[in-house]
């Protein structure tokens, strides 16, 4: 059986409810079947990934969409922790953020993000970015083996 029949588990770490809706909409209308889980800050993200507290039964994500500017623990810290955690570091982290600053791009790749995407202002281009993310990261790319447990 082809692995692509199983929906891809995506963890979205995003504090802006508007952006959550936009991302969810864009992913829902795409071609590749996926389940989107959302947490709104860095603390929750780590709890989710470590399956602590309310997240004890959470599936392990196949890929993480991470905003940089988050309340409490921010995206850069999450990135650093994920990429130095033995059990989590293989999960691709795709940074999706508004910042275009060169300093942020450098720092993010320096923390071993798998790639850096800038959120466009208008919805059409935003949709295209999500489509590109899908067609590359969810279709072309071979993701790490994951039984989601």
């Amino acid at each position: 059986m082809s692995v692509t029949c199983v929906p891809i588990e995506i963890l979205l770490v995003e504090d802006n409810p508007g952006d959550v809706i936009l991302t969810r909409e864009a992913l829902r209308s795409g071609k590749i079947s996926n389940n989107l889980q959302v947490v709104e800050d860095g603390e929750q993200a780590m709890a989710y990934l470590r399956r602590e507290g309310p997240y004890a039964d959470a599936p392990r994500p196949d890929v993480i969409l991470l905003d940089l500017n988050l309340p409490r623990k921010d995206g850069r810290e999450v990135l650093g922790e994920v990429k130095s955690d033995h059990d989590l570091k293989h999960i691709p982290v795709v940074v999706l953020t508004t910042s275009q600053s060169e300093a942020d791009v450098m720092e993010t790749y320096g923390l071993h993000a798998n790639c850096y995407l800038v959120k466009p202002v208008e919805y059409g281009p935003f949709l295209e970015v999500i489509r590109s993310f899908e067609s590359f990261w969810l279709s072309v790319v071979r993701l790490p083996p994951n039984n989601h447990k």
């Binding site: 802006n16 508007g18 936009l22 909409e25 508004t98 202002v121 208008e122 919805y123 059409g124 935003f126």
Partner: protein, 388 residues
């Protein structure tokens, strides 16, 4: 004029009668002027280095200025009269010494704290081994100059603060704007089919408003970047900047069948190349945009030297500008025509002015409605003593 013993020195002794008259005039003048005056004889040490001086003559203003009485100090050395002088002002004697030795007059400014005033001391050598000093109260002039310097610094800081604010605000405004634009898009998609004509129209106005807001925020960012991201002025060839600007506009130039004539003798100037290209692009772009209907745009770029500056002119044959608006057009977001006729948010010329100001220049326009326009601005030549 007489020496210490009251005798007339041989070099002045041309005839007693004339001398008396001159002396009276001199005495009258010396007492009448407000400036403190003192005449001295320099004293040299064994190496010929000036090390002390003798007071020979002082005027009333000097007595008031220093608190020293002429009668007490005439014939005495300054190190006697003001014992601490070498420590208090170590350079004073060598300053006067230089003048005495070279014969070249010199000035210096100093602050006299007992009177809380600024003085200019002007020393000259009227006769070998002697020097005269005139002290003028320059407090007013000095304070005025300092005030200007303080204002200039304040203004510069205020400008920088405003730019930082505009820059940050523009950045912070982008996120809510993104929400407005994205969800209007989504709304149009979501409702598209089920909307009546009015609904569609309302949404279109909202979306257009958001689009214009985005353009204005971008423009504000561009405007604030002129100061924030400006680079130091360097020598550059103006014709290269013109060529670059024309390159960016090449498609539109071809499309309108426009002719752009650039004078062959454009000078080298002091500038930030990126910003000058931006400036020229804006001016040439405007010349292309505001063309007379049915008349192909003709644009001339030329330069002429006027004193300490180069005056650059971009002249066109377009619709021209009513002189009433010559000042307004350089302000932020000022537009003279309806949006349907000519597009643009109205910041292009404000950016041009900011760039020119950064280059220590001025920009202005000469025009009449229907007669085309000449935009002129000044830049610093390579041999300028000004510049940032």
């Amino acid at each position: 004029m007489r020496d210490m013993d009251g005798a007339i020195p041989p070099e002045f002794d041309g005839g007693h009668v004339g001398i008396e008259e001159l002396e009276n005039k001199y005495a009258a003048l010396s007492e009448a002027i407000d400036s403190a005056m003192a005449y001295h004889r320099m004293i040299f040490d064994a190496d010929g280095t000036p090390c002390d001086y003798v007071f020979l003559e002082v005027n009333e203003a000097f007595e008031e200025f220093t608190g020293l009485k002429g009668a007490d100090i005439i014939g005495r050395q300054v190190t006697e009269v003001i014992p601490g002088i070498r420590d208090a002002d170590p350079d004073l004697i060598s300053f006067y010494g230089e003048v005495t030795l070279s014969g070249v007059p010199k000035s210096m400014e100093f602050y006299f704290s007992p009177l809380e005033r600024w003085y200019e001391a002007r020393a000259f050598r009227p006769r070998k081994d002697h020097f005269t000093v005139l002290f003028t109260n320059v407090t007013e002039r000095y304070e005025a100059r300092r005030k200007i310097e303080v204002y200039a610094r304040e203004l510069e800081r205020s400008n920088r603060d405003l730019e930082q604010f505009a820059y940050s605000a523009s950045h912070d405004l982008q996120e809510p704007l993104r929400m407005i634009t994205s969800f209007l898009n989504l709304l149009q998609q979501h409702l598209g089919g089920s909307l009546d004509d009015k609904g569609t129209e309302y949404l279109a106005y909202a979306a257009d408003g958001a689009r214009r807001l985005k353009a204005m925020i971008n423009d504000l960012l561009l405007f604030s970047r002129v100061g924030i991201e400006g680079r130091p002025l360097e020598p550059l060839a103006l014709d290269a900047a013109v060529t670059q600007a024309m390159g960016v506009l090449s498609e539109r130039i071809a499309e309108y069948g426009a002719s752009v004539v650039v004078a062959p003798d454009l000078p080298k100037v002091l500038g930030d190349e990126g910003q000058l290209v931006q400036l020229l692009q804006n001016l040439l772009g405007n010349a292309l945009k505001f063309q007379r209907p049915g008349v192909a745009p003709e644009i001339h770029v030329s330069a002429s030297r006027e004193g300490e500056e180069w005056v650059i002119t971009v002249a066109d044959n377009g619709i021209g500008i009513d002189p009433r608006y010559f000042g307004r057009i350089f302000e932020v977001f000022q537009r003279l025509h309806g949006r349907r006729v000519y597009d643009g948010s109205g910041i292009g010329l404000a950016i041009c002015r900011r760039i020119v100001e950064r280059h220590a220049g001025r920009i202005w326009v000469e025009s009449e409605e229907g007669q085309g326009a000449m935009f002129r601005f000044t830049l610093l030549p390579l041999d300028s003593r000004r510049g940032e």
